[in-house]
C-alpha cells in the first residue's frame, strides 16, 4: 500500500483542488470550525487556565522547596520535626473543593447545551453506520446512500444548516471523530447515538475512526465535505439519479453483474443489491477509495479491484481473482458510475 499512500500528503491538497475544495489536513481541536467543537474549545480554555494556574503555583513551590531546603553540608543536626497543621490541611482541602465546584458547573453547562439541543424541523438528517472498516452514510429524506465521504451544507450567519447524525454500527464499536467539527461519539451496535455539526467553513475536514475496531482500524478514515448550499444541492441531485447506464459499457456492465461483486455491493437500478460493502452507484463522485486510504484515480481503482488486500491488508473485500478481461471490464464499468 505504501507506494500509493506515500503521496497522501500531497494528494490531500490535490484532491481538494480537483473538487474545488480547500482541505483542512490538520485536525487541530483548538482550531474549531463548528459550534460543538467551538463550545468544547471555549470550555477547554477555562479548564486549561485553571490547570495552568495550579501547575505554576504547585510546581513553583516545589522548585522553591528543592532549591531552598537542599541540605548544604552535614552538620549532624536534624531539621525541626513538624508533624502537620490542621489549619493548612483545611485550606488545601477547601480551596480545591471550590475549584472543583466551579469547573463542574461550567462543564455541566456545556454538556447540557450540546447534548440536549433539539433538532430543527428543516435540519439535514443523516444516518451514519460504522462497518469494519468503512463508513456508510444514508440520507433518508433525500434517498441517498453513499460511503466514506460525508457531504453537508455549510452554515452561515444568514442561514444555519446544522446536520444531525444518527450513529449506528453494523458490527463492532466505532467512533466518529472529525476534530475540527466536534468531539467524538461512539457508534455502538444495538444502540443509536446522536451528534450534530454545523460547519462554518467550506472545505474537506479529515477525521478517523477513534475506537479500536479490529485489524484496519487505522485506515477507517473519514472525510466531511462541507459545501455551499448550491453545491450541496447539486451533489445531492447527482446522487439521487440512478446509476449511469451507458450503452458503450453494456458488456462491462453485464460482466460486473455476473460476478460475485453484487453479493456485497449495490448499484442503483441494477440487480446489484448487496449491503456488506459500500454502495457503488456514484463511485466516481468520491475522491478516495478504501475509506480514504488511496485517492480515486484510474490506476488506483484498477489496483484496488485487482487485489484490495495489497492496499489495505485484512479488509473484508477479498482478492476476487479476476482474469485480465474481467478486471478491464469491471474497472471500466465502475469508471462509468459518475
Amino acid at each position: 500500500m505504501n507506494s500509493f499512500s506515500r503521496v497522501i500528503g500531497l494528494w490531500c491538497v490535490m484532491t481538494g483542488v480537483a473538487l474545488g475544495q480547500t482541505v483542512h489536513p490538520l485536525g487541530n481541536i483548538f482550531d474549531p470550525q463548528a459550534t460543538p467543537a467551538e463550545s468544547v474549545y471555549h470550555l477547554s480554555l477555562l479548564v486549561m487556565a485553571v490547570c495552568a494556574a495550579i501547575f505554576f503555583v504547585v510546581a513553583g513551590l516545589l522548585t522553591f522547596t528543592i532549591v531552598r531546603f537542599r541540605r548544604k553540608g552535614n552538620d549532624g543536626h536534624e531539621p525541626a520535626q513538624v508533624y502537620g497543621s490542621n489549619r493548612i490541611e483545611v485550606a488545601w482541602t477547601v480551596i480545591p473543593i471550590l475549584i472543583v465546584l466551579v469547573l463542574t458547573m461550567a462543564t455541566a453547562r456545556v454538556v447540557i447545551a450540546l447534548q440536549n439541543k433539539s433538532v430543527p424541523k428543516d435540519a439535514l438528517q443523516v444516518t451514519v453506520i460504522g462497518h469494519q472498516w468503512w463508513w456508510e452514510f444514508r440520507y433518508q429524506d433525500l434517498g441517498i446512500v453513499t460511503a466514506n465521504e460525508l457531504h453537508v451544507p455549510v452554515s452561515t450567519t444568514a442561514k444555519q444548516s446544522p446536520t444531525f447524525l444518527k450513529l449506528e454500527s453494523a458490527d463492532v464499536a466505532h467512533s466518529f471523530w472529525v476534530p475540527q467539527l466536534s468531539g467524538k461519539t461512539d457508534l455502538i451496535p444495538n444502540r443509536t447515538n446522536t451528534m450534530w455539526i454545523d460547519p462554518r467553513q467550506e472545505g474537506t475536514f479529515l477525521g478517523n475512526c477513534a475506537e479500536y475496531c479490529g485489524m484496519q482500524h487505522a485506515n477507517m478514515l473519514l472525510r466531511v465535505i462541507v459545501q455551499s448550499r448550491e453545491d450541496f444541492e447539486k451533489w445531492a441531485g447527482g446522487q439521487k439519479t440512478e446509476a449511469a447506464y451507458d450503452s458503450h459499457i453494456l458488456v462491462a456492465r453485464a460482466t460486473f453483474l455476473s460476478l460475485s461483486c453484487v453479493n456485497c455491493h449495490s448499484v442503483s437500478g441494477t440487480s446489484a443489491s448487496g449491503t456488506f460493502g459500500p454502495d457503488l452507484s456514484h463511485l466516481m463522485s468520491r475522491g478516495t477509495l478504501g475509506s480514504g486510504v488511496i485517492p480515486n484515480t484510474p490506476e488506483n481503482l484498477r489496483a484496488w479491484v485487482k487485489d484490495p488486500q495489497v492496499i489495505k491488508p485484512g479488509n473484508l473485500m477479498p482478492n476476487m481473482q479476476l482474469n485480465a478481461r474481467e478486471l478491464d471490464e469491471v474497472v471500466s464499468y465502475l469508471s462509468s458510475l459518475k
Binding site: P25, S44, F69, T93, S182, I188, H217, P313
Partner: protein, 557 residues
C-alpha cells in the same frame, strides 16, 4: 547451612548446588523470597513489555511505517497493555507488600504463607498463559496468534464472530488466573495487617506504606470480581452460546464497558496507590522530617479508595450516555482531584523546611511529584466531559495515562528499588549508575510523552498501526520514538546496576539511609525469622525514638 564471612564483612551462606538452590526457591513460603520472586518476575515482564513498546514506536516513527504488519501491531499493543497492568504493575507491588509489610509491622511472616506462594504461582502461570498464546493461539480458523482486541477488549470485537481462533480465550484465562493470584495476595495482606502487628503497633502508628497497602488490598478485593464476572460471561458467550455481549443476538456492548471499567478505574488507583506508598516512605526519610499531616494522608487515601468505585463511566463519556449521567461522572471524577491534591500538598509540606538529600531514591520521587502533578492536571482536563469528547481515544489519552503510570508509578517504583535493594540484598546500588538511569529516563520520558499530548490535540487517534503524512503528526511521532532510545538505555543502566551491585555493591549495613521504620531495625538481608525478638513500638517512627531518646515521637502522638 554453613556461613562464611567475606572480605567485605558480609556473611553469606555457602553456595548450594544449583538444583537444591532452585528447589529452595520453588518450595519457599517465606514472604521475603516470594516478594523477591514477585518483583523479579514483574521486572522480567516489564522488560518484555518495553521491547513490545519499542517495536510499536519503531513502526510509528515515520508515516506509512513498514516495520510491522497491522495484525502484529494490534497484538503488540494488546499484549503490552495487558502485561503492564496485570503482569508488571500489580505483581510488583504484591512483591513490595509481601516483602515489606511483615517487616514494617514487626511480624515474622504473612498470615497465610502457603496462600502467599499460591498467589505467586497463579500470577506466574497466568502470565505464561498470555505469552503462550503466541505459539498456541492459532485455533481452528487459523486466525491470529496472540490476542489483538486491546487491553480493555471492547465487546463485541471479542465475540467469536469477530475474534476467531483461541487467542482471545488465552487472554481471558490469563487474566482470570492472574486475578485469582492477586486476590489471594490481597486477602493475605489484609489478614496480615489486621492480625500480625507487633506490640504497640496500633493502626494509628502503622507506617503510611502499610496503610496504603491495606487500602489497595481492599480495593483489589472489591474491584476484581466485576472483571472476573465479565470474563466468565465472555467465555460463556464464546463457548456456550450465551448472549451477554453478543450484539448480533441482542446482547449489550455497553454492559461489557460498564463491567470492565467498574474494575478498570479502581485498577488505576490500585496501580497508583502503591506508588504513593513508596513516595510516602522515601520523601520523609530524605527530607529528614516526618510525613506532614499523617492523618490527612490516611484520610485522603481512604477517600480515593471510596471515590474510585464511583467514577468508572468517565472512560465512557463518548458512548452516548444521558447528559445527567455525564454530569454525575464529571462531578465524581473532579472530586478525586481533591484527595489527590491533598497528597501532593502533604509531600510538599514534608519537604518544606527539611534538609533534602538527593540520593537516587529521592530523585525519582521528586520527578514523580512534578510528573504526577501534570498527569493529575491533564486528568482534570479530561474530567470535563466535552473536552474528553475531543481527547478520549486520542494520543492525548495515551500520553496522559503514561504520565500517570510511567511518570508517576514507574518512577516511584524505581525509587523503591534503589531504596529497598540494600535491605533485600545487603548491598547498595551504585549511585553513579543510578543517576545515569534517572537522568536518561527523565529525558527519554519527556521526549516521548510530552510530544504525544500534542499528537492527540492534532487529532491522532490511538491504536493506529499507520498514518499518512501531511496531518501534522510526523515530527511529533519521530521525536516520541527517539525518546524510547533514551528510556531503553536508562533501563539498561538499572539492569546492569542490579547485576553489578549484587556482586560488588558497597555493603549496606542495617540502616543505610538513617530511616525510621522497623524494616531497618533488622539485618540486611533480614534473617528468615525477621526479628529475633518481637519489636515493641510506641510511635509511628520507632527508629527515630531509638535514635533520639531526647526528643521521641511518642511524646507528641
Amino acid at each position: 547451612m554453613a556461613t562464611t564471612t567475606y572480605a567485605d564483612g558480609l556473611e553469606k551462606t555457602e553456595a548450594l548446588p544449583v538444583p537444591s538452590k532452585l528447589h529452595e526457591w520453588i518450595v519457599t513460603v517465606d514472604h521475603k523470597r516470594l516478594g523477591i520472586m514477585y518483583i523479579a518476575t514483574s521486572l522480567f515482564f516489564f522488560a518484555v513489555a518495553g521491547v513490545l513498546a519499542a517495536l510499536m514506536r519503531a513502526q510509528l516513527a515515520f508515516p506509512n511505517g513498514k516495520v510491522l504488519p497491522p495484525e502484529v501491531f494490534n497484538r503488540l499493543f494488546t499484549v503490552h497493555g495487558t502485561t503492564m497492568v496485570f503482569l508488571v504493575g500489580m505483581p510488583f507491588f504484591a512483591g513490595l507488600a509481601n516483602y515489606l509489610v511483615p517487616l514494617m509491622i514487626g511480624a515474622r511472616d504473612m498470615a497465610f504463607p502457603r496462600l502467599n506462594a499460591f498467589g505467586y504461582w497463579m500470577f506466574l502461570f497466568g502470565g505464561i498463559l498470555l505469552y503462550f498464546s503466541y505459539v498456541a493461539g492459532e485455533g481452528l480458523a487459523g486466525h491470529g496468534t496472540a490476542p489483538d482486541v486491546g487491553w480493555f477488549a471492547y465487546a463485541p470485537l471479542t465475540e467469536r464472530a469477530f475474534s476467531r481462533g483461541t487467542s482471545t480465550d488465552y487472554w481471558i484465562l490469563s487474566i482470570i488466573i492472574s486475578g485469582i493470584g492477586s486476590t489471594a495476595s490481597a486477602i493475605n495482606v489484609i489478614a496480615t495487617i489486621m492480625s500480625m502487628r507487633c506490640k504497640g503497633m496500633t493502626l494509628a502508628r502503622m507506617p503510611l506504606f502499610v496503610w496504603l497497602m491495606l487500602v489497595v488490598s481492599a480495593m483489589v478485593v472489591m474491584a476484581l470480581p466485576p472483571l472476573t464476572a465479565a470474563q466468565l460471561m465472555l467465555l460463556l458467550d464464546r463457548y456456550l452460546g450465551a448472549h451477554f455481549f453478543d450484539t448480533q443476538a441482542g446482547g449489550s456492548a455497553l454492559l461489557w464497558q460498564h463491567f470492565f471499567w467498574l474494575f478498570g478505574h479502581p485498577e488505576v488507583y490500585i496501580l497508583m496507590l502503591p506508588g504513593f506508598a513508596c513516595a510516602s516512605e522515601i520523601i520523609p526519610v530524605f527530607s529528614r522530617k516526618p510525613i506532614f499531616g499523617r492523618a490527612a494522608m490516611i484520610g485522603a487515601t481512604v477517600a480515593i479508595g471510596l471515590l474510585a468505585v464511583g467514577v468508572w463511566a468517565h472512560h465512557m463519556f463518548a458512548v452516548g450516555m444521558s447528559s445527567s449521567s455525564n454530569i454525575f461522572f464529571v462531578a465524581s471524577t473532579m472530586l478525586v482531584g481533591v484527595p489527590t491534591g491533598i497528597k501532593i500538598f502533604n509531600w510538599l509540606g514534608t519537604m518544606y523546611g527539611g534538609k533534602l538529600r538527593f540520593d537516587t531514591p529521592m530523585l525519582f520521587c521528586v520527578a514523580f511529584l512534578f510528573q504526577f502533578l501534570i498527569a493529575g492536571l491533564t486528568g482534570v482536563m479530561m474530567a470535563a466531559a466535552p473536552f474528553d469528547w475531543q481527547l478520549t481515544d486520542s494520543y492525548f489519552v495515551v500520553a496522559h495515562f503514561h504520565y500517570v503510570l510511567l511518570g508517576g508509578l514507574l518512577f516511584t517504583l524505581f525509587g523503591a528499588i534503589y531504596y529497598w535493594f540494600p535491605k533485600a540484598t545487603g548491598r547498595m546500588l551504585n549511585e553513579t549508575l543510578g543517576k545515569w538511569h534517572f537522568w536518561l529516563l527523565v529525558v527519554g520520558f519527556h521526549m516521548t510523552f510530552d510530544t504525544l499530548h500534542f499528537a492527540g490535540i492534532l487529532g491522532m487517534p490511538r491504536r493506529i498501526y499507520t498514518y499518512a503524512a501531511g496531518r501534522g503528526w510526523e515530527g511529533l511521532n519521530l521525536l516520541a520514538s527517539i525518546g524510547v532510545i533514551f528510556q531503553a538505555v536508562a533501563v539498561a543502566c538499572l539492569i546492569w546496576n542490579i547485576i553489578r551491585s549484587l556482586r560488588q555493591g558497597a555493603p549496606a549495613g542495617n540502616d543505610p539511609w538513617d530511616a525510621w521504620t522497623l524494616e531497618w531495625a533488622t539485618t540486611s538481608p533480614p534473617p528468615e525469622y525477621n526479628f529475633a525478638v518481637e519489636p515493641r513500638v510506641r510511635s509511628s517512627r520507632p527508629l527515630w525514638d531509638l535514635k533520639h531518646p531526647e526528643d521521641p515521637d511518642w511524646k507528641y502522638e
